[in-house]
């Protein structure tokens, strides 16, 4: 059995964001980067399935720059994933969900996975679309927002969170799942395993390596800054309208210098 876990490295939720100037690009150089917390549930579930069975291989797949390696090693390979695939292509900077789902579909298509796991969403853009898009593009059944999973021969039963209750869904394999908090308690890697993680295979690919064109993005993110604040309003107060008018005329002449 082969399991793929698609993960994303995100800024730590307590990262301090500094905007150097009103219209400047977001300075991300000082960001601490961690594994998306929802993806940790996906990784843990894959490892639990691996530990409960025999001859199960778990591959972690991500799209991102070279800096994702540290997260992949610590939070995927050191806790039990067998190998990692990184799609590192500068042309994907700023790519939208649809484009990234196309890339992941191509990466997942290189092997035949029985189970593909995602976190329900990434905590940076909070979109929660990619797992389901990948399932659609691959023509696979998907169950989203799962909080419980049971594997059987050729099928699975998952509990998914719905408003006011839970839904129990059975699906055939291969299938795509997105994992919600409550599914499991992600383990910490042991320190000796952190050391060994660097020796596990880690492959870096571009879109060209996957045999695809860089997919076009439909969504463009623009940065807007709040307009500069207006000068303070001065209210002319006087008992008599005539006195107020006189004071206003004086202010317009002496202070604003417009008449």
């Amino acid at each position: 059995m082969k399991i793929a876990v698609c993960v994303k490295q995100v800024p730590d939720s307590e990262t301090r964001i500094n905007l150097a100037a009103p219209a400047a690009e977001l300075d991300q150089s000082g960001f601490t980067r961690v594994l998306n917390p929802y993806d940790a549930y996906a990784v843990e579930e894959a490892i639990k399935i691996k530990e409960a069975g025999a001859e199960i291989e778990v591959t972690a797949i991500t799209i991102g720059p070279d800096t994702v390696k540290e997260t992949l090693k610590k939070d995927c390979l050191a806790v039990g994933c067998d190998k990692a695939v990184i799609i590192n292509d500068p042309a994907l900077d700023g790519a939208d969900e649809s484009a990234l789902a196309t890339v992941l579909t191509a990466a997942l298509g290189r092997d035949s996975y029985d189970l593909i796991l995602f976190g329900i969403k990434a905590i940076d853009d909070d979109s929660g679309q990619i797992g389901i898009m990948v399932a659609e593009k691959m023509g696979l059944p998907h169950v989203s927002t799962i909080t419980h999973l049971e594997m059987a021969e050729g099928s699975l039963t998952a509990h998914r969170e719905i408003e006011g209750g839970k839904e129990v869904v059975t699906a055939s394999l291969p299938a795509v799942l997105t994992c919600q908090k409550g599914l499991n308690e992600p383990r910490l890697p042991s320190l000796p395993n952190i050391m060994k993680a660097g020796m596990k295979p880690m492959e870096t690919l571009t879109c060209a390596d996957l045999g695809i064109e860089v997919p076009a993005s439909l969504v463009e993110i623009k940065l807007y800054s709040p307009p500069p604040s207006r000068a303070e309003c001065k209210l002319v107060e006087a008992e008599e309208p005539a006195a107020a008018a006189k004071e206003l005329a004086r202010l317009l002449h002496e202070e604003a210098k417009v008449i």
């Binding site: 610590k74 890697p189 320190l191 000796p192 050391m195 993680a197 660097g198």
Partner: protein, 388 residues
């Protein structure tokens, strides 16, 4: 309160490898999730969280840099990083790991037989067994050479008589690494729980290291087979070398305690308002915070260089003594300053600096007092030992 994120003003983490940063983050998360929720309760009750011992072992935090069967085999720098993160939680937690690793596993790995290593190291590394280290006696602290505990040869065995005091993990220990005087000088023995005549007693009424087990070891005609003697530990140099390993970990560890105090004081100063503004806006408070940060940053530089030297095989006593001496005094000063910034709130157990402060009063004394380390460095630079 938001999670602790460490103090790294000079970006030392840039000089760490991916693996070193991962080790730091993993231990930090363990301390935050598993230890912090219960430290107040254990400190109050005067108990060590024994249910965490197995987890410490399975994560690889016990004897982490020791090379031997079942041992994690990490670098010296990583051992330091682990100590820093553990002591950010509490000096008692770091003390447990220091004793188990540097004072029990280290001598077995360096002075023991293959049988002793196979028998003890895997279980000690996994946290399935606990060890303690018996050198200090009631009447012999800074001068262990005066020890009164004796081991006399009797056929294939040794008969040990005497007692040891101020022993961390004494009452939890399955095995005690005991140093006793023989006719040929000081030797080290593995005394096991259950051996006839061997007993341990807790020390009550501690102000300090309350979340740590401290006690007395008593030997009343304890018969120990010669196979429990460490054959390569010859003379007082052997236990002193163990202490050098442990002090290395202390020098790192207390930086974690200091950083926790600074972090707590900085957050508090930003939230606490007096005279209509946060107390962090007052010059005197800023001066205190900057002083703490400066001293912590200097200590971090010292530790990282000491770690790199150790990993190159350079770990002489005076280098470790200078760092232990400086960093513990620095951390104690930070704890007192943080307590001061916290005002009245600082005297309750709702905040950590008061707890770190009383803990560090032990740390500045144990494993070579501040003054003894002064004289070790003094002897090294002048060539004239002041304590003989």
């Amino acid at each position: 309160m938001a999670d602790y994120k460490g103090v790294d003003f000079y970006r030392f983490s840039r000089n760490l490898s991916d693996e070193e940063r991962s080790v730091r983050d993993t231990v930090r998360q363990f301390v935050e999730n598993r230890f912090m929720p219960q430290v107040r309760q254990h400190f109050k009750a005067g108990t060590f969280p024994t249910e965490l011992i197995g987890e410490l072992g399975s994560l690889g935090l016990l004897g982490s840099s020791i090379k031997g069967p079942g041992c994690p085999g990490l670098s010296g720098t990583m051992y330091g990083i682990i100590c820093e993160e553990l002591e950010r939680g509490d000096s008692g937690l770091r003390s447990f790991a220091s004793v188990q690793g540097s004072l029990v596993m280290w001598p077995i790995a360096n002075y023991g037989t293959e049988e002793q290593k196979e028998r003890w190291l895997p279980d000690l590394a996994a946290g399935k067994k606990v060890g303690c280290f018996g050198l200090t006696e009631a009447n012999h602290g800074s001068d262990p050479g005066g020890m009164e505990t004796r081991a006399a040869r009797d056929g294939d065995d040794w008969i040990i008589n005497g007692s040891k005091l101020w022993i961390t993990n004494a009452n939890l220990a399955d095995v005690a690494m005991v140093w006793a005087r023989t006719e040929k000088g000081v030797s080290g023995f593995l005394v096991e729980r259950g051996m006839e005549g061997f007993s341990t007693n807790p020390i009550h009424g501690k102000y300090s290291l309350r979340a740590s087990d401290t006690g007395e070891l008593v030997f009343d005609d304890v018969r120990v087979p010669d196979s429990n003697r460490l054959p390569d530990a010859i003379g007082l140099k052997a236990p002193l070398n163990c202490l050098n390993q442990a002090r290395y970990g202390i020098a790192w560890g207390v930086v974690g305690a200091a950083a926790d105090c600074y972090d707590t004081a900085l957050r508090y100063a930003g939230e606490r308002e007096q005279f209509g503004k946060p107390i962090a806006s007052f010059q005197l408070v800023q001066q205190k915070l900057v002083h703490m940060l400066t001293e912590i940053t200097k200590a971090q530089g010292l530790c990282l260089q000491m770690g790199r030297l150790k990993d190159d095989g350079i770990n002489p006593t005076p280098i470790v003594s200078l760092a232990k001496r400086n960093n513990v005094a620095m951390a104690l000063d930070c704890a007192r300053t943080a307590r001061d910034i916290l005002g009245a709130a600082g005297i309750t157990d709702e905040f950590s600096p008061g707890r770190h402060m009383v803990n560090l009063e032990s740390v500045i004394t144990y494993e070579g007092t501040h003054d003894v380390h002064t004289l070790i460095v003094g002897a090294d630079i002048t060539g004239i030992p002041a304590f003989r």
